[in-house]
Symmetry: C2
Subunit: 123 residues, 2 copies
């Protein structure tokens, strides 16, 4: 396994890409434990900077990410998780978090109603 | 234009994706000026954290990125530049910076010899 450069905060950015459509679904951060759990379980794990805890994608929503391959960049300080996405990646209900252009036009597709999945409090 | 959340250091992570092949080419950071220059010129600009300066991709190598569209994520704290890549994105000579699996297998394609493009000192 390649050595990874976790930044000063112990985290590495992770780009999440749909292995079939090649769509970029989201960006998140992982610590060493999250990378290890992703490898050993085959399901995407991250570290939440706001909640300060490890999380498994889909643990609340059921929208798990089955990780088919992990890629590493030249500087070993960024990863790609190539995944099969159940449902949608974004807590807003869109398939990808990147559903808008910089000009503010919505180009993504809404897959679910977040109130029904997460309750009225959002994620 | 959507408001963007630049982090405490004034930077926003940018995922760079080939608009045709959908390949993820690299990850870099931009400050407000870099995003503005990318929009106004149509060429990818970033902010180098190590060199502490704005840079235009390709200024040394000639491997410019023509930006066709910029996407914003749900939290407005991450961007995608969808680009037409001249040559290769990675300074190592590979088309994408993500040319290896976490296990260390090389799966990417080498496009150029970095010594010929950047000289013996690397980038």
């Amino acid at each position: 396994m390649l050595p990874l450069n976790f930044a000063g905060d112990g985290l590495i950015p992770v780009i999440v890409q749909d292995v079939t459509t090649r769509e970029v679904l989201m960006m998140a951060y992982a610590n060493e434990e999250a990378v290890h759990l992703t490898q050993s379980t085959g399901y995407a794990h991250y570290y939440s900077r706001s909640r300060k805890k490890l999380w498994k994608k889909g643990e609340e929503s059921g929208h798990f990410q089955n990780v088919k391959q992990v890629l590493v960049d030249c500087d070993e300080d960024c990863l790609i998780y190539e995944v099969e996405q159940t449902g949608a990646a974004c807590h807003t209900g869109y398939r990808t978090c990147f559903y808008r252009t910089l000009e503010g036009e919505t180009i993504g597709k809404k897959i679910f109603d977040p109130e029904k999945v997460y309750g009225k409090t959002g994620h």
